[in-house]
């Protein structure tokens, strides 16, 4: 009837078109929960067998180192993790499945590595462990191992939601010289091939994990940096807020899936 109502459908259509182009459609490309698969399922049976057997899983070498570190006194406070936390098998159960978690002191979520370093600084009065150092990887692997088999469940509430959204925005944003977003490969093209590899859905179910390509154990942030190098994007430093926000989003995206640490991946 009036001009205004005639224009509205066109405006709505235009808005949808722009919305799709922006690629921020939060649920449009999201993998339906019944289709979610761990990278474990894309591996050859022989590789899966390496992960399944603690006697052959090289990640266990770091877990055992982590157990030794857990029990070793450190810092000027002369305290071991065990002195406060006792047996990790009990006290650390579920911890990795809930991280990144909100840290009131910092006013933002922190990942497991940051949580461990915070404890070292505040409680043990010890120097923080460097990212990707053997010690930090070992401790993180040992702690995360105690969540093996438990469902991933980062707490999303009013405090963590803004960081979740920041992580989601990073996941969906095209970046780098190849102008690719995480979502384009891992939401829209998982299961297809890139070079000789099958594209996984990119759920961080098993970190820190033993990547055959690295021939060693590494953190989620190390893997994310590999992705960014792959698409020729700027790579943030270890511990960057952008990384932790993205970790939170990835863990939320994988909610309900089981922790596999220490996983093995190609």
């Amino acid at each position: 009837m009036s001009l205004r109502s005639g224009v509205r459908p066109l405006a709505v259509a235009a808005a949808c078109f722009l919305f799709d182009l922006a690629g921020t459609a939060a649920t449009a490309a999201e993998i339906p929960s019944e289709q979610r698969r761990s990278g474990y399922e894309l591996m050859a049976p022989e590789t899966r067998a390496i992960q399944d057997d603690d006697a052959t899983n090289p990640g266990m070498l770091w877990v055992l180192d982590g157990e030794a570190l857990w029990n070793r006194k450190a810092g000027s406070a002369g305290r071991a993790c065990a002195d406060c936390h006792g047996d990790a098998r009990a006290s650390m159960k579920g911890v990795a499945a809930r991280h990144p978690a909100f840290d009131p002191a910092r006013g933002r979520p922190v990942n497991l590595e940051q949580r461990i370093n915070a404890c070292r600084a505040e409680r043990q009065k010890a120097a923080p462990l460097a990212y990707e150092s053997k010690e930090l990887l070992a401790l993180t692997a040992y702690v995360a191992r105690q969540s093996r088999g438990l469902p991933i469940e980062p707490a999303i509430d009013a405090r963590t939601r803004p960081f979740l959204e920041a992580g989601r925005e990073t996941f969906n944003r095209r970046q780098g010289q190849l102008n690719l977003s995480c979502a384009l490969c891992h939401d829209d093209n998982w299961g297809k091939h890139l070079a000789g590899s099958v594209i996984p859905q990119a759920h961080p179910t098993g970190y820190p994990l033993y990547r055959l390509e690295w021939q060693g154990l590494g953190s989620l942030q190390r893997r994310l940096r590999n992705c960014l190098t792959g698409i020729r994007a700027q790579v943030p430093d270890f511990g960057a807020a952008e990384f932790v926000d993205l970790e939170l989003f990835l863990m939320w995206r994988a909610r309900g899936m089981k922790i596999e640490t220490p996983a093995v991946r190609p």
Binding site: D53, A55, L61, L64, Q215
Partner: protein, 106 residues
């Protein structure tokens, strides 16, 4: 901390063939890789693994750079008597690791 892990049954019947799995933490640097500036990274590998059972050698493995990092070596032995299994890894640059595991045989 040079680390190695051995997995085997704590006890077995006399004459039973048991499986032993071992893992050693080691980069197994091949000597063929180059740095970003083109220099060769020198070879640094585990060269030999031996297992003795109450002093008798029951397995000897010669490793070459083609063995993957953090080598897995899994093999079998007959459970002959109770005692001790000694595992030793020896390699370049003075690398030497020993692990010991008891076995009860009835």
């Amino acid at each position: 901390m040079a680390r190695a892990v051995v997995t085997l049954p704590a006890q077995a019947k006399r004459g039973e063939i048991i499986e032993i799995k071992t893992l050693a933490q080691h980069a197994m640097e091949t000597g063929f890789r180059r740095t970003q500036t083109g220099d060769l990274i020198p070879r640094d590998i585990i060269r030999r693994f031996t297992c003795t059972y109450n002093g008798t050698e029951i397995c000897r493995v010669d490793l070459h750079p083609a063995i993957a990092a953090n080598p897995l070596i899994a093999f079998n032995t007959v459970a002959t008597e109770s005692g001790t299994l000694t595992f030793q890894w020896v390699g370049d640059n003075g690398y030497s690791v020993t692990e010991i595991a008891p076995i009860r045989v009835e």
